[in-house]
Amino acid sequence: MTTVARQKTPEPGPEATGSSNGRPAGRRARSRPPGEPRSVGWLYVLPALAVYGAFLLWPLVRGAQFSLYHWDGIGRATWAGLSNYTATWTDPTLRGAFGHLLVLIVFYAILPCCIAFVLVAVMSRTKIRGLTFFRTVLFMPQVIAMVAVAVAWQWVYSTHGPVNTVLGWLHDLGLPDWRHGWLGDFTFALPAIGLVGTWVEIGLALVLFLAGVQKIPRELYEAARIDGAGAVREFFTVTLPGLRRELSVALTLTTIMAVRNFDLIYMATSGGPGDSTKVPAYEVYNRTFNTGEVGLGCAIGVTLAVLAFAITAGIGRLVEGKGE
């Protein structure tokens, strides 16, 4: 049975052509195994495809269309060509916002991966007791609503919050007074937001790398030791190459998180003080609903979609592709 089915599939033949006009294939479909060409598949796909098309793909197309106009959301729209896209780098605030995104990518993606790598390198590959517990706790920031995370961190950074309390103690010990209103400070607000991202993402990277290290064959480490490799050489010749796939997944997920960073910014700083924590995800909302530049908001949105797609497609190729 199965061999017959497998032989048939490479060349669809007359049955598949028949299915394009629907009726004859519909009658024949009932007697065919599920692996055979059959237009009934379309019926199964239809509900998902209809909702997906109407409420995700169509809005994306509409967004691209809106992005070609100047529109305040109420009056008449005027043709703008690509000027909304050029504005993403000529408008100093928007250029700044994309610059902030780069800074946040360092905090959200690169820093957590580096820290997690150091930890995995330091930790030997002995069996870890209570791994499930540690994994559960380390990964937990990922599942908490970002708005709740934002509220918690506003307290952490607040005038009398834990950070300033500790710095107050250090001040009492004779160190300079480093206390700040962190999220209201032009210099420190962006790194403070970034560290929230580091806190959220570090567990994800660590959980991924810990799982990956367990899969690296022990013989590779033994061979490296016999060759006289030190801890550093061992890391670069065995651990790092062995974790290439995990690194690619971690970088992709965390970078995307940095790009889709609306909730935290909206709740914690609203882009302030001044423009110091404005990011593209926030500007999509801000330009559309606060300053009445709907076309520009959509252009930023489309840019983010392209960016997210490029990151997903690019990082995997960059990190994993080299080995082939």
């Binding site: 199964y44 793909l57 380390l138 709740a148 567990g203 959980v207 997944v249 909302y285």
Partner: protein
């Protein structure tokens, strides 16, 4: 280095980072309960009453439940078709869904707002639910297709021999044995929908009675700017349902979230 020393170091590193991961949450609980010193649930009572959290949670439960049921049923069906059936355009349809995995809410929220408003769907449950079903079926289809491809063809063959139609085979044979994969998809869609903030913020712009839990927290924050114990109680109320589910089903959450980015 001795084994014993290595083991202690490992656990010390993990314990340190576990504390760092938990620290703000411990702070939330301590602040909300006014620990240390006294144990008081007053903050929760005040937050609950003043913040209208009962209504917010009810809306979130409705939106999440309907989204999860619709998205799961649609994803199982489309994943089944794309996983085991062959029909014209199947490859193109799958690529279309795959592309949707990377579309951020930010890219579609503005056109959604204007088009749903023209259709009279802003400030309605439908306006909150349908776009989230659309976002979820991209992942759901991808996830369920992978499961259906892993099912041994002999199983479907046997069902067909017994005279089962493709529909019966799906719901009577494949879905029951696919519970682990389906459960993973369900918990992820539940979490994403429950935590979604930008879409409700834009779609529910005038009807206060439709605010979801995260949206409610943002308005609660607007009203109690620096009363941290009250805000923390609110944050705890809206985060707790998902965290509780997570504690019991952590394996599913982690496996699902880490595989979302892995493409073929």
């Amino acid at each position: 280095m001795s084994r014993r020393y290595e083991r202690i170091l490992n656990h010390a590193v993990l314990a340190l980072f576990a504390v760092v991961a938990l620290f703000p949450m411990i702070g939330i609980v301590a602040q909300a309960l006014k620990l240390p010193g006294s144990l008081s649930f007053d903050t929760f009572r005040v937050a609950w009453n003043e913040g209208h959290f009962a209504g917010y949670l009810r809306n979130s439960v409705i939106v999440t439940a309907v989204t999860v049921v619709l998205a799961s049923v649609f994803s199982i069906m489309s994943g089944y078709a794309l996983g085991v059936m062959r029909f014209r355009g199947a490859g193109a349809v799958f690529l279309l869904f795959l592309a949707g995995l990377t579309i951020p809410t930010e890219a579609v929220v503005v056109p959604l707002y204007f088009d749903l408003r023209s259709a009279g769907l802003d400030n309605t449950y439908a306006g909150l639910i349908l776009p989230q079903v659309a976002m979820s079926v991209a992942f759901g289809t991808f996830w369920m297709r992978a499961y259906f491809r892993s099912v041994p063809p002999s199983l479907m063959e046997a069902a067909r021999m017994d005279g089962a139609s493709s529909w019966t085979t799906l719901w009577r044979v494949l879905v029951p044995i696919g519970r682990p994969a389906i459960l993973t998809m369900v918990v992820l869609i539940t979490m994403w929908t429950w935590n979604e903030f930008l879409l409700p913020l834009v779609i529910v712009n005038s009807d206060e009675g439709l605010r979801t839990a995260p949206l409610g927290l943002s308005f609660f924050q607007g009203a109690h700017k620096t009363d941290y114990s009250l805000l923390m109680a609110g944050a705890l109320i809206i985060a707790a349902p998902i965290v509780i589910v997570y504690v019991f089903l952590q394996r599913r959450f982690i496996a699902g979230m880490l595989s979302g980015a892995i493409k073929e």
